[in-house]
């Protein structure tokens, strides 16, 4: 990888979120808490979600987390919380899909700033297969925790 690739990977936005992560720290209330690890490198995240609203039409009221990891994984958690908190779950899941498509696109997918906001900064990560997992760790944890709450709610 070249110096340009490096700069594409470590965008200013990413380093900012890394230094000043949003929504970090575990908070109450929450309906589910999960713990995810990246087995290869050991990065980990403990993440809680708090959903409100009718079963089937929940909204993401809060996402809080505690995490250890590289700049990419930390910044990604921060951006993720910005993107999902306050959104209806269905909509947040769509944002997740869009982010996933970007990450799995090997650098060929054009990011949509209207949907992904600061998330577009991760476009450069998609070129580094080893780092894609870092960027997805918090999203996977969020999706897992959300699914648990929804399942519980629908019972």
């Amino acid at each position: 990888m070249t110096a340009q690739d490096l700069d594409a990977l470590y965008q200013e936005i990413i380093l900012d979120h890394y230094k000043n992560p949003h929504h970090k720290g575990l908070r109450e209330p929450h309906e589910a808490e999960v713990h995810h690890v990246n087995p290869t490198c050991g990065d980990e995240i403990t993440l809680r979600v708090h959903l409100t609203g009718e079963p089937g039409a929940e909204t993401v009221a809060d996402v809080s987390y505690d995490s250890l990891g590289c700049s990419i994984s930390q910044a990604s958690a921060s951006v993720m919380t910005d993107l999902v908190i306050g959104r209806p779950v269905a909509e947040a899941l769509e944002v997740h899909e869009t982010f996933l498509t970007l990450m799995q696109g090997k650098g060929q997918v054009e990011p949509d700033e209207d949907v992904l906001e600061d998330g577009i900064a991760f476009a450069g990560v998609a070129k580094f297969p080893a780092r894609v997992k870092c960027a997805l760790l918090s999203w996977m944890a969020w999706k897992d925790a959300t699914a648990r709450v929804m399942e519980e709610n629908s019972k």
Binding site: M1, T2, A3, D5, L6, C41, G42, G69, C70, R131
Partner: protein, 426 residues
């Protein structure tokens, strides 16, 4: 850049390794400092494998035709070479596995089915250490879970040595097996294998040594060790001693290997097979079910020949010289802390470190942009990381082809990393 102990004609030696001439993205030359993960291969190993595949390929043992005879001879000659590389008392005690992990699991797995003397049960103790590679932890967790025995651990001192202060509580009459790594892949520490083996033998415990990092770096001569200090079993892996992947070695004393039940069942490991029952071949074949990694063994044979031609004492001296030089260089990087012994004479060539304020992933990434290949993560040694309160680290690991210039490139790249992450002013 003349440092005492370096391999003579290092530039010529480097020419043996074609990959070292590669350039990476942006035209960067490769600075390969990830040899504890896997070593690079000299041309002679590759050529030997190609010659086998293009001219002598056939199955072994079973085939009576000329190709079969040639292939069998090459395969068994590889066993002789490996036996002499580690000074095995008998060449039949050398068992080919697919890697070090399989070799260690072979022991743990067969012990789970052992009856008599070797059987394990409630109250029996297996001792390992906190600095082991996962491949020398998980097999023993599975074994003790399955037999009801207890797994106990040697702890680590602050400076990365085994903490032997509670050896008398750990190695007792109840201890059936003690296992440890000879050289740590994370801390670099060289452990006192002889002393611990002697102690374990006093209570009648078996000793299993993980030599995955030792075999590449230290001259090993099992036959020359006093029998009380000689481990009963020893494992290493082909791809770290300039050999190919897909091949590992378990050496074991005949007495122990004869007593262990079979591991995998199938072709080559049998004496006779009948519907009612089967009987098994003698060692080494008893533990080599199915078609073995033939071309891999042949490649490993060429690899250990290559190392022996260089002389393992010279490889070791080179490693120590480079390690000392690297420790010096790393000490100049602000905010960098080395995990493990700081004296090159007490350690192998893997050096793990932290840089305050930059995650190891990010360090490795920036280094990679300068062509410097290191490893970042837990290096399959989570308990050792936990012991030092770190989640992961960056590791540089040199080998016989590493030059002082490459260490300089690493140190420069680390400086650059600090400035990239704006730590310059801290």
């Amino acid at each position: 850049m003349s440092i005492a102990g370096l391999l003579p004609q290092l530039e010529v030696v480097r020419k043996d390794f074609p990959i070292l001439e590669r350039t990476l993205a942006g035209g960067m030359p490769l600075v390969y400092l990830d040899s504890a993960n896997t070593s690079q291969k000299p041309q002679c190993v590759i050529d030997t494998m190609v010659d086998h595949l293009e001219r002598h390929n056939a199955n072994v043992a079973r085939a009576m035709h000329q190709l079969g005879a040639e292939s069998s001879e090459a395969f068994e000659a590889a066993r002789d070479k490996v036996a002499s590389f580690i000074g095995a008392p008998s060449r039949d005690e050398v068992i080919f596995t697919k890697n070090a992990s399989e070799a260690l699991n072979l022991v743990a797995n067969t012990l789970a089915w052992a009856r008599g003397d070797l059987a394990l049960g409630e109250g029996d103790v297996v001792v390992t250490t906190e600095m082991e590679h996962h491949s020398n932890i998980v097999p023993w967790q599975l074994l003790t879970q399955r037999t009801g025995a207890t797994l106990r651990w040697f702890g680590l001192t602050e400076d990365g040595h085994l903490d032997l202060s509670d050896i008398d509580e750990l190695i007792t009459e109840r201890t059936k097996l003690v296992t440890l790594t000879w050289v740590s892949n994370m801390l670099g520490t060289i452990n006192p294998v002889a002393a611990i083996t002697r102690r374990a033998h006093e209570v009648g415990a078996l000793v299993v040594v993980d030599a995955s990092q030792a075999a590449p770096q230290l001259p090993i001569d099992l036959a020359a060790m006093p029998v009380e200090e000689r481990p009963d079993l020893l494992a290493f892996t082909g791809h770290k001693v300039v050999g190919p992947t897909g091949i590992g070695v378990l050496w074991g004393s005949r007495a122990v290997l004869d007593e262990l039940p079979p591991f995998l069942g199938g072709g080559e490991m049998i004496a006779t097979v009948a519907m009612e029952r089967s009987t098994y071949a003698g060692i080494p074949h008893k533990f080599e079910a199915g078609t073995p990694p033939i071309v891999e063994a042949v490649g490993l044979g060429a690899a250990v020949d290559y190392l022996s031609d260089l002389g393992m004492q010279h490889v070791h001296a080179h490693e120590q010289a480079i390690t000392a030089y690297a420790l010096e260089g790393l000490a100049t990087v602000p905010g960098l802390t080395v995990l493990g012994p700081l004296d090159a004479a007490q350690r192998g060539g893997a050096i793990s470190f932290e840089i305050e304020g930059v995650h190891p992933h990010d360090v490795a990434q920036v280094l990679d942009s300068r062509g410097v290949a290191v490893r970042a993560g837990h290096h399959c040694a989570k308990p050792a990381h936990a012991r030092f309160g770190v989640q992961s680290s960056t590791r540089m690991s040199s080998y016989l082809y590493t030059t002082p210039g490459e260490i300089d490139a690493l140190v420069e790249a680390l400086e650059y990393t600090r400035s990239y992450f704006r730590l310059g002013d801290s």
